[in-house]
Amino acid sequence: MTTLETATDVPPSLPALFTGFLKIGMMGFGGVGPVARHIIVAERNWLDDRAYAELMGICQALPGANTVNAAVMLGDRFRGTAGALTCVFALMAMPLLALVAIANVYDAVSDHPLAQVALTGAAASAAGLILGTAARLLTKAGLARWAWLMAAAAFLAVGLLRLPMLPTLLVLVPLGLVAASLGARRI
């Protein structure tokens, strides 16, 4: 069993897990991924690079935000259910407080005409952000031809045809699993 091996011998305590994930949540302005790696691997030495990559691999294969899944899995591995709860709570606490603060500012200004314009601009920019990120990840993922077809089908079904997501996934995920296992066998 190599998954999620600890780099240290003594599993971190609940307070250590709490402060670690609090920091990840606090510093993750504009994306928590890099911060999470820095704190888990470099600063706290909870996992080595290989174990961290393995952990993120599993998190990617599950629904939900990667960092939340990582918090659940690391917390559980080190300190059981209490550890998982501690990590998720710590991870979410500061971002939620920040969100409440931002939301209150939004509430206070959203009727002002100039704020309306700024928010519309922010919405247009946020759309570009996610489009650009998706495009970059798509070109860097080294997808096989069938995988490009899956990506295109998902985009078409949900983005253009606006089909409900559940039936779309119920068709695409099994297809993807079949294609992936055939492809994996060939390699």
Binding site: T2, L4, M27, G28, F29, G30, V32, I58, C59, A61, L62, P63, G64, A65, V68, V72, M73, D76, V88, A98, L99, A103, Y106, L114, V117, L119, T120, G121, A122, A123, A124, S125, A126, A127, G128, L129, I130, L131, T133, A134, A135, R136, L137, A147, M150, A151, A153, A154, F155, V158, G159, P164, L166, L169, L172, V173, G176, L177, G183, A184
Partner: protein
Amino acid sequence: MERGIFGQLVITFGTISLMAIGGANAVVPEVHRQIVEILGWMDAPTFARLFAIAQTAPGPNVMLASIVGWHVAGTSGLLVATAAMLLPSSLLALACSRGLQRFSDNRIVRIVTLALVPIALGLMLASGAVAMLAADAGLFGFAITAATAAVTYRSKVNPLVPMAVGTAAYVAGWCVGLA
């Protein structure tokens, strides 16, 4: 069929939680479909603005659920929607974390990842497209979206930078009558 806002938040985000492959960035079209089109809780531009706010907040990308919950039912709505978005996927992660201790072979993980990554990326593109149309920012808005996308595609700069520049550019454009 009166469920109350909180019950509806639990149902909506509880199911979306398990569909969120790659996090909330994959489910913008579904959240939009349910919240704007089916439930009619807000109009499309408001939804797009809340999405933008969720992008600026720190933290993992589940904050879209939190801000939608907040918008429809205040702080309790925020907490209920966040918990509904986190709980199902976290329970699944917990089960997998414990189940995987019995395998030494991570072939299954590799196949599932191979299958899900392209779907997640296609859904992320769809999220961007839906958010762009919902923003309803006009032709100049499309230009801002395209420029932000191009910058994000080419450089690994902190996303808050293109976001701030894009917003400022849109306001400036509005001031000179472009938007």
